[in-house]
């Protein structure tokens, strides 16, 4: 079984938010709610400051707390690719998944169910990249099977220094940032 994941090159990302717009367009996310977003972290002591820009979304964790805590099984791991999804017709809107996610990656859809990034599974199943990856003007985003040694994401992770967000939360996230 594939284990889909994403690698994002923080040296190339300029925070243009094309990925955010592409996601909103592709998935018709409700006004005021986003499945992906840009974070900008600035650290240091003037004039020696460093800035990291990241395109963030659901990390489709290997050990997703949102799936564990879901009382109905609405939050589940897709049989192909290990993508974490929500079956809206099974969701009761208890919001435990929102509270369990250390990345605050979920929101409550105005129709009442929990919603989040799907890695554009409807596109991936047709052999396409997620919308955010396909539009990135700096080509800083890579998508593929983390378990396949010859995939581009695996080769990048093997050759470049990288990190995940909040690994200390213990959820084993599957989005990695190249440094």
């Amino acid at each position: 079984m594939a284990r889909l994941g994403m690698v994002i090159d923080t040296r190339r990302c300029v925070g243009c938010m094309d990925c955010v717009v592409a996601c909103k367009t592709e998935n018709s996310t409700p006004e005021g709610m986003n499945r992906d977003w840009i974070t900008c972290a600035t650290r240091g002591r003037f004039p020696h400051l460093s800035m990291t820009i990241r395109s963030e979304r659901c990390n489709h964790c290997d050990e997703p707390p949102c799936v564990t805590c879901c009382p109905t099984g609405a939050s589940h791991v897709h049989e192909w690719g290990g993508v974490v999804l929500v079956a809206k017709e099974e969701c009761i809107g208890c919001k435990a998944c929102l509270a369990s996610c250390p990345y605050d990656a979920r929101y409550v859809n105005p129709d009442g169910y929990a919603d989040k990034c799907t890695f554009c599974i409807h596109r991936v199943e047709k052999g396409q990249d997620p919308a955010c990856v396909s539009v990135c003007p700096t080509r800083c985003m890579y998508f593929g099977d983390l378990d396949l040694p010859e995939s581009e994401v695996s080769r990048l992770l093997a050759s470049r220094k990288h990190h995940a967000v909040l690994p200390e939360a213990g959820t084993k996230p599957r989005i990695f940032y190249l440094e």
Partner: protein, 322 residues
């Protein structure tokens, strides 16, 4: 030298999570309090049933093991479940809870415990049904007589009531502590703490409302014991958080100098635990008379505890700059 800068900007702007999680309003603390209160009644009255206690009066009262107290528990758990239902964002799908059993989801097994609570409470009411109910449903009379006269039934029901009550009380805390993304809730002590608080609130109510003077004295003693346990658990919870990772220590600081300090130490600990503990200690040693003041403070303190834990827990988070 200029100060060190550590700034984090996000474009997420989700109304549920920015600037911090705020998905649960008044409904969840009210539900957790009423669930804990019901659990406490089930444990205390279950214990009285198990000991073979019978209600000496011919009408329903709020003495332990009486149908009045079990009917009150039916009302409080129903109100709690109503509050829980009001919180759901996808209400028409609530029945989905009962199509599956997710052993690792406290909310799942909690929903099944809630389903078990009803038959236990109804069976307990049937041991001494109110006269009005017997007049409405005459068939209940002989059935109740048979149940009430059988000591094995009383003791068995008492045991089941205690076990279900303990499960319900602990579940109300575990529900939160299973959500590790919120460091304030990330402690196994929340289950015992909420159980102790539920037991304390129900003992306080029995202390206030029981018509039996001996029972009132007994409940005041017992409530004092639960309050001391609660105080100890709060202390251990805060020590555990403060001595853990930076995220957990930051969560503890919400009530140790942070925005929830005053309401926690004055409302929950001071007025909800210490003051009633002093008043009830004086009452049980016959220095002052028993009044409703201490029991009311205990119950309000129990409610305030849930409000503070639920609200502050949603503010606590892992560091975003990681």
């Amino acid at each position: 030298m200029s100060p060190a800068l550590s700034e984090f900007v996000t474009t997420a702007h989700s109304p549920a999570t920015d600037p911090h999680l705020h998905v649960w309003g008044w409904e969840i603390p009210v539900y957790l309090f009423l669930g804990g209160f019901t659990a406490g009644i089930m444990v205390l009255s279950g214990w009285a049933l198990w000991r073979g206690r019978r209600n000496a009066r011919s009408h329903p009262t709020f003495s332990l093991a009486s149908s009045g107290l079990f009917m009150l528990a039916l009302a409080t758990i129903s109100l709690g479940m109503l509050a829980l239902f009001l919180d759901l964002a996808h209400k028409p799908y609530v029945w989905r809870l009962y199509l599956t059993m997710k052993p690792w989801s406290p909310m799942s097994w909690g929903s099944w415990i809630l389903l078990l609570v009803y038959p236990v409470l109804v069976a307990a009411v049937l041991l001494e049904p109110p006269h009005r109910l017997v007049r409405l449903l005459p068939a209940i009379g002989p059935l109740s007589q048979r149940l009430a006269d059988d000591m094995r039934v009383r003791r068995g029901l008492g045991f089941v009531s205690m076990a279900t009550g303990i499960g319900l009380g602990i579940y109300t805390g575990i529900l939160l502590s299973a959500l590790g993304a919120r460091p304030l809730w990330s402690s196994g002590l929340l289950g015992p703490l909420f159980l102790a608080s539920g037991l304390s609130s129900s003992a306080a109510f029995a202390h206030w409302a029981s018509p039996e003077p001996d029972e009132r004295r007994q409940m005041a003693w017992l409530d004092n014991l639960f309050l001391v346990i609660e105080l100890g658990l709060i202390g251990m919870l805060l020590i555990g958080l403060a001595s853990s990772t930076e995220a957990h220590a930051e969560a503890a600081r919400l009530v140790l100098g942070g925005p929830y300090t005053a309401v926690f130490w004055v409302g929950v600990v001071g007025l909800g635990i210490v003051v009633p503990l002093v008043i009830q200690s004086l009452a049980v040693t016959h220095r002052i008379i028993h009044t409703p003041i201490a029991p009311i403070l205990v119950m309000l303190g129990g409610l305030a505890l849930r409000f503070v834990i639920v609200s502050a827990g949603q503010i606590s988070h892992w560091p975003r700059l990681s």
